[in-house]
Amino acid sequence: MVNTSVTLSGLTLSNPVIPASGTFGYGYEFAEIYDINCLGSFSFKGTTREPRFGNEPPRIAEAPSGMLNAVGLQNPGIDKVISEELPKLRKVFHKPVVANISGFSIDEYVECCGRIDKEEGVGLVEVNISCPNVHNGGMSFGTSPESAAQVTRAVKAVTRKPVYMKLSPNVTDIAAIARACEDAGADGISLINTLMGMRIDLKRRAPVIRNVTGGLSGPAVFPVALRMVWQVYEAVNIPIIGMGGITTAEDVMEMMLAGAAAVEVGAANLVDPFASKKIVEALPAVMEKYHIENLTDIIGGAHHG
Protein backbone atom coordinates (compact mmCIF):
# COMPACT_ATOMS: atom_id res chain seq x y z
CA MET A 1 0.00 0.00 0.00
CA VAL A 2 1.46 3.32 -1.02
CA ASN A 3 0.80 6.51 0.90
CA THR A 4 -0.32 9.38 -1.32
CA SER A 5 -1.00 11.87 1.48
CA VAL A 6 0.86 15.15 1.70
CA THR A 7 0.89 18.05 4.14
CA LEU A 8 0.68 21.78 3.45
CA SER A 9 1.46 23.92 6.50
CA GLY A 10 -0.24 21.47 8.86
CA LEU A 11 -3.12 20.73 6.52
CA THR A 12 -3.11 17.06 5.51
CA LEU A 13 -4.43 16.17 2.06
CA SER A 14 -5.24 12.55 1.14
CA ASN A 15 -3.37 13.16 -2.11
CA PRO A 16 -1.54 16.10 -3.68
CA VAL A 17 -4.02 16.76 -6.51
CA ILE A 18 -5.82 20.13 -6.33
CA PRO A 19 -7.79 21.46 -9.31
CA ALA A 20 -6.52 24.96 -10.00
CA SER A 21 -8.46 28.15 -9.54
CA GLY A 22 -10.46 29.20 -12.58
CA THR A 23 -10.68 25.70 -14.04
CA PHE A 24 -13.05 24.20 -11.49
CA GLY A 25 -15.56 26.95 -10.72
CA TYR A 26 -16.92 26.32 -7.24
CA GLY A 27 -16.91 22.59 -7.87
CA TYR A 28 -20.55 21.95 -8.86
CA GLU A 29 -20.06 21.28 -12.57
CA PHE A 30 -17.64 18.50 -11.67
CA ALA A 31 -19.65 17.22 -8.70
CA GLU A 32 -22.42 16.48 -11.22
CA ILE A 33 -20.22 13.93 -12.96
CA TYR A 34 -18.03 12.46 -10.18
CA ASP A 35 -17.55 12.53 -6.41
CA ILE A 36 -15.02 15.33 -6.09
CA ASN A 37 -14.14 14.23 -2.56
CA CYS A 38 -11.53 11.98 -4.16
CA LEU A 39 -9.43 15.13 -4.69
CA GLY A 40 -6.84 16.36 -2.22
CA SER A 41 -8.60 19.72 -2.24
CA PHE A 42 -9.56 22.27 -4.88
CA SER A 43 -8.87 25.93 -5.38
CA PHE A 44 -12.05 27.85 -6.08
CA LYS A 45 -12.56 30.57 -8.69
CA GLY A 46 -10.51 33.71 -7.99
CA THR A 47 -12.65 35.97 -5.84
CA THR A 48 -12.55 39.76 -5.56
CA ARG A 49 -14.33 42.28 -3.34
CA GLU A 50 -16.80 43.42 -6.00
CA PRO A 51 -18.68 41.17 -8.44
CA ARG A 52 -16.90 41.20 -11.80
CA PHE A 53 -18.09 40.41 -15.33
CA GLY A 54 -14.53 40.05 -16.54
CA ASN A 55 -13.35 40.81 -20.05
CA GLU A 56 -15.46 41.10 -23.19
CA PRO A 57 -15.43 37.97 -25.41
CA PRO A 58 -13.72 36.28 -27.13
CA ARG A 59 -11.81 35.25 -24.03
CA ILE A 60 -10.39 31.93 -25.27
CA ALA A 61 -7.97 30.83 -27.98
CA GLU A 62 -6.35 27.58 -29.04
CA ALA A 63 -2.55 27.24 -28.75
CA PRO A 64 -0.15 24.43 -29.60
CA SER A 65 -0.54 21.95 -26.71
CA GLY A 66 -2.44 24.50 -24.71
CA MET A 67 -4.83 27.39 -24.61
CA LEU A 68 -5.02 31.10 -23.94
CA ASN A 69 -7.59 32.65 -21.67
CA ALA A 70 -8.43 36.21 -20.78
CA VAL A 71 -11.46 35.67 -18.57
CA GLY A 72 -10.44 38.59 -16.39
CA LEU A 73 -11.49 37.36 -12.96
CA GLN A 74 -15.19 36.97 -13.55
CA ASN A 75 -16.66 36.16 -10.13
CA PRO A 76 -19.73 36.97 -8.03
CA GLY A 77 -17.76 38.94 -5.43
CA ILE A 78 -16.81 38.01 -1.87
CA ASP A 79 -20.28 38.65 -0.33
CA LYS A 80 -21.98 36.17 -2.63
CA VAL A 81 -19.12 33.70 -2.45
CA ILE A 82 -19.50 33.60 1.33
CA SER A 83 -23.30 33.68 1.47
CA GLU A 84 -24.12 31.48 -1.53
CA GLU A 85 -21.21 29.64 -3.13
CA LEU A 86 -19.47 28.30 -0.03
CA PRO A 87 -22.62 26.79 1.54
CA LYS A 88 -23.42 25.14 -1.81
CA LEU A 89 -19.84 23.98 -2.21
CA ARG A 90 -19.82 22.39 1.22
CA LYS A 91 -22.68 20.14 0.21
CA VAL A 92 -20.58 18.57 -2.56
CA PHE A 93 -17.07 18.85 -1.09
CA HIS A 94 -16.39 17.87 2.51
CA LYS A 95 -12.68 18.57 2.77
CA PRO A 96 -10.96 21.91 3.40
CA VAL A 97 -10.91 24.01 0.25
CA VAL A 98 -8.26 26.40 -1.10
CA ALA A 99 -9.68 29.94 -1.17
CA ASN A 100 -8.24 31.85 -4.12
CA ILE A 101 -8.38 35.61 -3.57
CA SER A 102 -7.55 38.38 -6.05
CA GLY A 103 -7.50 42.12 -5.75
CA PHE A 104 -6.82 45.51 -7.21
CA SER A 105 -5.44 47.16 -4.08
CA ILE A 106 -3.80 46.13 -0.83
CA ASP A 107 -7.03 47.10 0.96
CA GLU A 108 -9.03 44.75 -1.20
CA TYR A 109 -6.66 41.81 -0.58
CA VAL A 110 -6.79 42.54 3.15
CA GLU A 111 -10.57 42.74 3.30
CA CYS A 112 -11.21 39.63 1.21
CA CYS A 113 -8.51 37.47 2.81
CA GLY A 114 -9.58 38.56 6.30
CA ARG A 115 -13.17 37.60 5.58
CA ILE A 116 -12.52 34.31 3.81
CA ASP A 117 -10.07 33.31 6.57
CA LYS A 118 -12.99 33.12 9.03
CA GLU A 119 -14.95 30.72 6.86
CA GLU A 120 -15.25 27.18 8.07
CA GLY A 121 -14.22 24.81 5.33
CA VAL A 122 -11.41 27.02 4.04
CA GLY A 123 -8.13 25.17 4.55
CA LEU A 124 -5.74 27.72 3.19
CA VAL A 125 -5.80 31.07 1.45
CA GLU A 126 -4.13 31.32 -1.94
CA VAL A 127 -3.45 34.95 -2.77
CA ASN A 128 -3.39 35.58 -6.50
CA ILE A 129 -0.89 38.35 -7.21
CA SER A 130 -0.41 37.08 -10.74
CA CYS A 131 -3.54 37.43 -12.90
CA PRO A 132 -2.27 38.57 -16.32
CA ASN A 133 -5.72 39.49 -17.64
CA VAL A 134 -6.74 42.49 -15.56
CA HIS A 135 -5.36 45.98 -15.60
CA ASN A 136 -4.14 47.97 -12.61
CA GLY A 137 -4.13 45.00 -10.31
CA GLY A 138 -3.52 41.32 -10.24
CA MET A 139 -0.16 40.66 -11.77
CA SER A 140 1.25 44.10 -11.06
CA PHE A 141 1.51 43.08 -7.37
CA GLY A 142 3.42 39.95 -8.27
CA THR A 143 6.08 41.36 -10.52
CA SER A 144 8.31 43.03 -7.96
CA PRO A 145 9.67 41.60 -4.69
CA GLU A 146 8.66 44.78 -2.83
CA SER A 147 4.98 44.78 -3.81
CA ALA A 148 4.71 41.00 -3.39
CA ALA A 149 6.09 41.36 0.13
CA GLN A 150 3.74 44.25 0.85
CA VAL A 151 0.65 42.21 -0.05
CA THR A 152 1.96 39.21 1.88
CA ARG A 153 2.61 41.24 5.03
CA ALA A 154 -0.79 42.94 4.88
CA VAL A 155 -2.67 39.69 4.33
CA LYS A 156 -0.74 37.80 7.00
CA ALA A 157 -1.74 40.46 9.54
CA VAL A 158 -5.45 39.61 9.10
CA THR A 159 -5.39 35.83 8.64
CA ARG A 160 -4.87 32.77 10.83
CA LYS A 161 -4.97 30.15 8.14
CA PRO A 162 -1.92 29.37 6.02
CA VAL A 163 -1.34 31.97 3.30
CA TYR A 164 0.10 30.85 -0.03
CA MET A 165 1.15 33.54 -2.50
CA LYS A 166 0.38 32.62 -6.11
CA LEU A 167 3.16 33.92 -8.33
CA SER A 168 3.40 34.96 -11.94
CA PRO A 169 5.91 33.43 -14.34
CA ASN A 170 6.02 36.73 -16.25
CA VAL A 171 9.01 38.00 -14.27
CA THR A 172 12.77 38.04 -14.63
CA ASP A 173 13.63 36.56 -11.24
CA ILE A 174 10.96 34.30 -9.73
CA ALA A 175 13.27 33.23 -6.88
CA ALA A 176 13.68 36.79 -5.63
CA ILE A 177 9.90 37.28 -5.50
CA ALA A 178 9.35 33.97 -3.73
CA ARG A 179 12.04 34.87 -1.20
CA ALA A 180 10.43 38.26 -0.60
CA CYS A 181 7.10 36.53 0.12
CA GLU A 182 8.77 34.10 2.51
CA ASP A 183 10.54 36.93 4.32
CA ALA A 184 7.21 38.77 4.62
CA GLY A 185 5.65 35.79 6.36
CA ALA A 186 4.05 33.71 3.60
CA ASP A 187 3.36 30.11 4.64
CA GLY A 188 3.83 28.80 1.14
CA ILE A 189 4.14 29.61 -2.55
CA SER A 190 1.84 28.61 -5.44
CA LEU A 191 3.24 28.75 -8.93
CA ILE A 192 2.91 29.27 -11.83
CA ASN A 193 0.00 31.36 -13.02
CA THR A 194 -0.35 31.56 -16.82
CA LEU A 195 2.27 32.90 -19.23
CA MET A 196 1.22 35.98 -21.18
CA GLY A 197 0.69 35.27 -24.85
CA MET A 198 -1.49 36.08 -27.84
CA ARG A 199 -2.84 34.79 -31.16
CA ILE A 200 -3.76 36.68 -34.31
CA ASP A 201 -6.68 35.79 -36.60
CA LEU A 202 -5.39 35.83 -40.18
CA LYS A 203 -8.83 36.53 -41.68
CA ARG A 204 -9.55 39.53 -39.48
CA ARG A 205 -5.88 40.57 -39.12
CA ALA A 206 -6.62 41.17 -35.46
CA PRO A 207 -5.94 39.48 -32.13
CA VAL A 208 -8.17 36.45 -31.52
CA ILE A 209 -8.76 37.53 -27.92
CA ARG A 210 -10.58 40.82 -27.37
CA ASN A 211 -8.22 41.66 -24.49
CA VAL A 212 -5.37 41.24 -27.06
CA THR A 213 -3.27 39.14 -24.66
CA GLY A 214 -4.24 36.11 -22.62
CA GLY A 215 -2.64 33.63 -20.28
CA LEU A 216 -1.12 30.49 -21.79
CA SER A 217 -1.74 27.23 -19.95
CA GLY A 218 -1.75 23.53 -20.73
CA PRO A 219 1.05 21.03 -21.41
CA ALA A 220 2.94 23.68 -23.42
CA VAL A 221 3.91 25.45 -20.19
CA PHE A 222 4.80 22.38 -18.12
CA PRO A 223 8.59 22.55 -18.64
CA VAL A 224 8.58 26.26 -17.75
CA ALA A 225 6.52 25.62 -14.63
CA LEU A 226 8.79 22.77 -13.62
CA ARG A 227 11.89 24.95 -14.02
CA MET A 228 10.35 27.72 -11.92
CA VAL A 229 9.26 25.35 -9.14
CA TRP A 230 12.81 24.02 -9.18
CA GLN A 231 14.27 27.52 -8.81
CA VAL A 232 11.85 28.52 -6.06
CA TYR A 233 12.52 25.28 -4.16
CA GLU A 234 16.20 26.22 -4.12
CA ALA A 235 15.36 29.72 -2.89
CA VAL A 236 12.85 29.17 -0.06
CA ASN A 237 12.12 26.83 2.85
CA ILE A 238 8.31 27.04 2.76
CA PRO A 239 6.11 24.52 0.92
CA ILE A 240 5.36 24.96 -2.77
CA ILE A 241 2.18 24.10 -4.65
CA GLY A 242 3.41 23.42 -8.18
CA MET A 243 1.23 23.89 -11.22
CA GLY A 244 1.38 24.56 -14.95
CA GLY A 245 0.32 22.04 -17.58
CA ILE A 246 0.04 19.00 -15.34
CA THR A 247 -1.90 16.32 -17.20
CA THR A 248 -0.76 12.94 -15.85
CA ALA A 249 0.32 11.26 -12.61
CA GLU A 250 3.86 11.21 -14.03
CA ASP A 251 3.71 15.01 -14.35
CA VAL A 252 2.73 15.18 -10.67
CA MET A 253 5.80 13.15 -9.73
CA GLU A 254 8.09 15.35 -11.84
CA MET A 255 6.64 18.44 -10.21
CA MET A 256 7.15 16.98 -6.74
CA LEU A 257 10.70 15.89 -7.54
CA ALA A 258 11.34 19.49 -8.58
CA GLY A 259 10.17 20.62 -5.16
CA ALA A 260 6.37 20.82 -5.02
CA ALA A 261 4.67 19.55 -1.85
CA ALA A 262 1.35 19.41 -3.70
CA VAL A 263 0.18 20.24 -7.21
CA GLU A 264 -2.65 21.99 -8.96
CA VAL A 265 -4.20 20.73 -12.17
CA GLY A 266 -5.64 23.46 -14.39
CA ALA A 267 -6.32 23.44 -18.12
CA ALA A 268 -6.52 19.62 -18.17
CA ASN A 269 -9.88 19.83 -16.34
CA LEU A 270 -11.33 21.87 -19.18
CA VAL A 271 -10.57 19.44 -21.99
CA ASP A 272 -11.20 16.32 -19.93
CA PRO A 273 -13.61 16.96 -17.05
CA PHE A 274 -12.42 13.75 -15.42
CA ALA A 275 -8.70 14.70 -15.64
CA SER A 276 -8.10 15.39 -11.94
CA LYS A 277 -9.91 12.23 -10.88
CA LYS A 278 -7.93 10.17 -13.39
CA ILE A 279 -4.66 11.59 -12.04
CA VAL A 280 -5.66 10.73 -8.45
CA GLU A 281 -6.53 7.20 -9.52
CA ALA A 282 -3.34 6.72 -11.52
CA LEU A 283 -0.99 7.92 -8.77
CA PRO A 284 -0.66 4.69 -6.69
CA ALA A 285 0.36 2.56 -9.67
CA VAL A 286 2.90 5.14 -10.85
CA MET A 287 4.32 5.33 -7.31
CA GLU A 288 4.66 1.56 -7.22
CA LYS A 289 6.33 1.56 -10.62
CA TYR A 290 9.02 3.89 -9.28
CA HIS A 291 9.22 2.17 -5.87
CA ILE A 292 7.84 5.09 -3.87
CA GLU A 293 6.07 4.22 -0.62
CA ASN A 294 5.41 7.70 0.74
CA LEU A 295 4.79 10.44 -1.76
CA THR A 296 6.20 13.08 0.60
CA ASP A 297 9.58 11.33 0.38
CA ILE A 298 10.12 12.56 -3.17
CA ILE A 299 9.51 16.30 -2.61
CA GLY A 300 12.56 18.06 -4.01
CA GLY A 301 14.11 14.65 -4.60
CA ALA A 302 15.72 15.66 -7.89
CA HIS A 303 17.91 18.28 -6.20
CA HIS A 304 21.24 16.72 -5.35
CA GLY A 305 24.05 18.50 -3.51
Binding site: E29, P57, A61, A63, N69, V271
Partner: protein, 241 residues
Protein backbone atom coordinates in the same frame (compact mmCIF):
# COMPACT_ATOMS: atom_id res chain seq x y z
CA UNK B 1 -22.90 15.59 -19.58
CA UNK B 2 -21.62 12.27 -20.85
CA UNK B 3 -18.05 11.56 -22.02
CA UNK B 4 -18.31 9.03 -24.82
CA UNK B 5 -16.66 7.86 -28.02
CA UNK B 6 -18.50 7.97 -31.34
CA UNK B 7 -17.60 6.18 -34.55
CA UNK B 8 -17.85 7.99 -37.87
CA UNK B 9 -20.34 6.23 -40.18
CA UNK B 10 -20.18 8.80 -42.98
CA UNK B 11 -18.77 12.28 -43.54
CA UNK B 12 -19.52 14.01 -46.81
CA UNK B 13 -19.99 17.48 -48.32
CA UNK B 14 -23.61 18.57 -48.75
CA UNK B 15 -22.98 22.18 -49.83
CA UNK B 16 -20.07 24.57 -50.32
CA UNK B 17 -17.74 24.18 -47.28
CA UNK B 18 -20.50 22.32 -45.47
CA UNK B 19 -20.29 18.70 -44.34
CA UNK B 20 -22.70 16.22 -42.87
CA UNK B 21 -21.21 13.71 -40.45
CA UNK B 22 -23.19 10.74 -39.20
CA UNK B 23 -21.88 9.03 -36.08
CA UNK B 24 -22.83 5.99 -34.08
CA UNK B 25 -22.62 5.88 -30.31
CA UNK B 26 -24.37 6.82 -27.10
CA UNK B 27 -26.95 9.58 -27.75
CA UNK B 28 -28.82 9.14 -24.48
CA UNK B 29 -30.29 12.34 -23.11
CA UNK B 30 -29.41 14.59 -26.09
CA UNK B 31 -32.00 17.34 -26.72
CA UNK B 32 -32.52 19.65 -29.73
CA UNK B 33 -30.48 22.84 -29.38
CA UNK B 34 -27.73 21.17 -27.40
CA UNK B 35 -24.20 20.64 -28.66
CA UNK B 36 -21.42 18.09 -28.47
CA UNK B 37 -17.81 19.04 -27.73
CA UNK B 38 -15.38 17.07 -29.88
CA UNK B 39 -11.76 16.21 -29.09
CA UNK B 40 -9.85 16.37 -32.37
CA UNK B 41 -6.40 14.83 -32.69
CA UNK B 42 -3.67 17.49 -32.63
CA UNK B 43 -5.82 20.16 -30.99
CA UNK B 44 -5.93 21.01 -27.31
CA UNK B 45 -9.36 22.57 -26.96
CA UNK B 46 -12.47 20.70 -27.95
CA UNK B 47 -14.69 21.93 -30.79
CA UNK B 48 -18.34 22.61 -29.96
CA UNK B 49 -20.72 21.52 -32.74
CA UNK B 50 -24.51 21.75 -32.55
CA UNK B 51 -26.59 18.61 -32.83
CA UNK B 52 -28.46 18.47 -36.15
CA UNK B 53 -30.29 15.20 -35.64
CA UNK B 54 -30.18 12.30 -33.25
CA UNK B 55 -31.86 8.97 -32.77
CA UNK B 56 -31.12 5.92 -30.65
CA UNK B 57 -27.42 5.24 -31.24
CA UNK B 58 -27.09 7.70 -34.10
CA UNK B 59 -26.03 11.34 -34.24
CA UNK B 60 -25.87 13.73 -37.21
CA UNK B 61 -23.69 16.83 -37.21
CA UNK B 62 -23.76 19.38 -40.03
CA UNK B 63 -20.83 21.76 -39.84
CA UNK B 64 -19.17 24.44 -41.88
CA UNK B 65 -15.41 24.35 -42.48
CA UNK B 66 -14.22 27.66 -41.04
CA UNK B 67 -10.79 26.90 -39.58
CA UNK B 68 -8.17 24.25 -38.89
CA UNK B 69 -10.34 22.27 -36.48
CA UNK B 70 -13.29 21.91 -38.83
CA UNK B 71 -10.87 21.25 -41.72
CA UNK B 72 -9.56 18.29 -39.78
CA UNK B 73 -13.12 17.16 -39.02
CA UNK B 74 -13.86 17.20 -42.75
CA UNK B 75 -10.95 14.83 -43.37
CA UNK B 76 -12.19 12.14 -40.97
CA UNK B 77 -13.19 8.93 -42.68
CA UNK B 78 -15.62 6.14 -41.93
CA UNK B 79 -14.53 4.18 -38.87
CA UNK B 80 -12.69 7.07 -37.21
CA UNK B 81 -13.26 7.39 -33.45
CA UNK B 82 -14.28 10.74 -31.96
CA UNK B 83 -14.20 11.50 -28.23
CA UNK B 84 -17.16 13.70 -27.40
CA UNK B 85 -18.82 15.29 -24.42
CA UNK B 86 -22.56 15.18 -25.08
CA UNK B 87 -25.66 16.67 -23.52
CA UNK B 88 -24.09 20.14 -23.33
CA UNK B 89 -26.13 23.33 -23.16
CA UNK B 90 -29.73 23.96 -22.22
CA UNK B 91 -31.32 23.26 -25.62
CA UNK B 92 -34.62 24.65 -26.92
CA UNK B 93 -37.66 24.75 -24.66
CA UNK B 94 -40.64 23.48 -26.66
CA UNK B 95 -43.27 24.05 -23.99
CA UNK B 96 -44.09 27.60 -25.15
CA UNK B 97 -44.43 27.90 -28.92
CA UNK B 98 -48.17 27.65 -29.53
CA UNK B 99 -49.60 26.05 -32.67
CA UNK B 100 -47.41 27.53 -35.36
CA UNK B 101 -43.79 28.12 -34.44
CA UNK B 102 -41.39 29.60 -36.98
CA UNK B 103 -37.85 28.27 -37.30
CA UNK B 104 -35.34 30.80 -38.62
CA UNK B 105 -31.85 29.56 -39.43
CA UNK B 106 -28.87 31.19 -41.10
CA UNK B 107 -26.00 29.18 -42.62
CA UNK B 108 -24.32 27.03 -39.97
CA UNK B 109 -27.25 27.97 -37.71
CA UNK B 110 -29.68 25.85 -39.74
CA UNK B 111 -28.66 22.38 -38.44
CA UNK B 112 -29.95 22.56 -34.82
CA UNK B 113 -33.38 23.62 -36.13
CA UNK B 114 -33.76 20.28 -37.89
CA UNK B 115 -33.88 18.20 -34.68
CA UNK B 116 -36.09 20.91 -33.19
CA UNK B 117 -38.51 20.67 -36.13
CA UNK B 118 -38.84 16.92 -35.56
CA UNK B 119 -39.53 17.43 -31.88
CA UNK B 120 -42.14 20.14 -32.50
CA UNK B 121 -43.89 17.93 -35.06
CA UNK B 122 -43.89 15.01 -32.61
CA UNK B 123 -45.57 17.33 -30.10
CA UNK B 124 -48.33 18.09 -32.60
CA UNK B 125 -47.27 21.61 -33.60
CA UNK B 126 -47.14 22.90 -37.16
CA UNK B 127 -43.75 24.58 -37.59
CA UNK B 128 -42.57 26.44 -40.71
CA UNK B 129 -38.94 27.19 -41.61
CA UNK B 130 -36.97 30.08 -43.10
CA UNK B 131 -33.45 29.13 -44.11
CA UNK B 132 -30.97 31.82 -45.07
CA UNK B 133 -27.69 31.46 -46.94
CA UNK B 134 -25.20 33.72 -48.70
CA UNK B 135 -25.56 32.08 -52.08
CA UNK B 136 -27.09 29.11 -53.92
CA UNK B 137 -24.04 26.84 -53.57
CA UNK B 138 -24.28 27.06 -49.78
CA UNK B 139 -27.92 25.98 -49.53
CA UNK B 140 -28.52 22.72 -47.67
CA UNK B 141 -31.36 20.81 -45.96
CA UNK B 142 -34.18 22.61 -47.80
CA UNK B 143 -35.42 19.24 -49.04
CA UNK B 144 -35.04 17.66 -45.60
CA UNK B 145 -37.19 20.31 -43.94
CA UNK B 146 -39.76 19.94 -46.75
CA UNK B 147 -39.69 16.15 -46.35
CA UNK B 148 -40.72 16.60 -42.72
CA UNK B 149 -43.74 18.48 -44.04
CA UNK B 150 -42.65 22.00 -43.09
CA UNK B 151 -43.54 24.95 -45.25
CA UNK B 152 -39.98 26.03 -46.04
CA UNK B 153 -38.70 29.35 -47.40
CA UNK B 154 -35.14 29.83 -48.58
CA UNK B 155 -33.46 33.23 -48.86
CA UNK B 156 -30.05 33.96 -50.36
CA UNK B 157 -28.25 37.23 -49.78
CA UNK B 158 -27.16 37.50 -53.44
CA UNK B 159 -30.52 36.38 -54.79
CA UNK B 160 -29.04 33.37 -56.60
CA UNK B 161 -31.73 31.11 -55.12
CA UNK B 162 -35.14 31.57 -53.52
CA UNK B 163 -36.04 34.88 -51.99
CA UNK B 164 -33.49 37.64 -52.62
CA UNK B 165 -32.31 38.98 -49.30
CA UNK B 166 -32.11 37.90 -45.69
CA UNK B 167 -34.22 35.64 -43.50
CA UNK B 168 -35.98 38.74 -42.22
CA UNK B 169 -37.29 39.36 -45.75
CA UNK B 170 -39.24 36.12 -45.46
CA UNK B 171 -40.65 36.73 -41.99
CA UNK B 172 -43.96 38.24 -43.10
CA UNK B 173 -45.75 34.98 -42.40
CA UNK B 174 -48.08 34.02 -39.60
CA UNK B 175 -46.45 32.49 -36.50
CA UNK B 176 -47.14 32.10 -32.81
CA UNK B 177 -43.53 31.91 -31.61
CA UNK B 178 -40.09 31.53 -33.14
CA UNK B 179 -36.77 29.76 -32.71
CA UNK B 180 -33.62 31.06 -34.37
CA UNK B 181 -29.96 30.22 -34.77
CA UNK B 182 -27.34 31.91 -36.95
CA UNK B 183 -24.67 34.61 -37.03
CA UNK B 184 -25.15 37.39 -34.51
CA UNK B 185 -26.10 40.17 -36.99
CA UNK B 186 -28.87 37.90 -38.27
CA UNK B 187 -30.07 37.16 -34.73
CA UNK B 188 -30.22 40.86 -34.03
CA UNK B 189 -32.19 41.53 -37.21
CA UNK B 190 -34.63 38.74 -36.30
CA UNK B 191 -34.95 40.22 -32.81
CA UNK B 192 -35.92 43.57 -34.25
CA UNK B 193 -38.31 42.25 -36.89
CA UNK B 194 -40.05 39.59 -34.79
CA UNK B 195 -43.58 40.18 -33.48
CA UNK B 196 -43.74 37.38 -30.91
CA UNK B 197 -41.57 35.96 -28.19
CA UNK B 198 -38.90 33.48 -29.20
CA UNK B 199 -35.64 31.72 -28.44
CA UNK B 200 -32.18 32.52 -29.83
CA UNK B 201 -29.24 30.16 -29.97
CA UNK B 202 -25.88 31.90 -29.57
CA UNK B 203 -22.34 30.99 -30.49
CA UNK B 204 -19.16 31.93 -28.61
CA UNK B 205 -15.57 30.74 -28.37
CA UNK B 206 -15.56 28.27 -25.50
CA UNK B 207 -12.94 26.82 -23.24
CA UNK B 208 -14.54 23.81 -21.58
CA UNK B 209 -18.11 23.81 -22.93
CA UNK B 210 -19.60 22.67 -19.62
CA UNK B 211 -19.64 25.76 -17.43
CA UNK B 212 -16.35 25.60 -15.56
CA UNK B 213 -14.01 28.14 -17.14
CA UNK B 214 -16.18 31.26 -17.65
CA UNK B 215 -14.68 31.57 -21.13
CA UNK B 216 -17.98 32.28 -22.90
CA UNK B 217 -19.97 34.44 -20.50
CA UNK B 218 -22.43 36.99 -21.87
CA UNK B 219 -24.54 39.69 -20.25
CA UNK B 220 -28.30 39.17 -20.08
CA UNK B 221 -31.17 40.99 -18.40
CA UNK B 222 -31.26 38.18 -15.86
CA UNK B 223 -27.53 38.31 -15.05
CA UNK B 224 -24.33 36.93 -16.50
CA UNK B 225 -24.82 33.67 -18.33
CA UNK B 226 -22.42 31.08 -19.63
CA UNK B 227 -23.28 30.50 -23.29
CA UNK B 228 -22.19 26.86 -22.91
CA UNK B 229 -24.14 25.92 -19.81
CA UNK B 230 -26.91 28.49 -19.18
CA UNK B 231 -27.27 28.85 -22.98
CA UNK B 232 -26.67 28.54 -25.85
CA UNK B 233 -30.41 29.23 -26.06
CA UNK B 234 -31.61 32.50 -24.55
CA UNK B 235 -35.14 33.91 -24.63
CA UNK B 236 -35.91 37.14 -26.45
CA UNK B 237 -36.80 38.83 -23.17
CA UNK B 238 -33.42 38.28 -21.53
CA UNK B 239 -31.11 39.26 -24.40
CA UNK B 240 -28.83 42.29 -24.12
CA UNK B 241 -27.26 43.27 -27.47
Amino acid sequence: MIDTVFTVLSNSPIAQNTFEMVLSGDTEGIRPGQFVNLKLPGYYLRRPISVCDHGPGSLTLVYKVVGHGTELMASLEKGAALDALTGLGNGYDTSLPGEKPLLIGGGAGVPPLYALAKKLLAEGKRPAAILGFNTKSEVFYEDKFRALGLETFVATADGSYGIRGFVTDAMDVEYTYFYTCGPEPMLKAVYEKSRTSGQFSFEERMGCGFGACMGCTCKTKTGYKRVCKDGPVLTKEEIVW
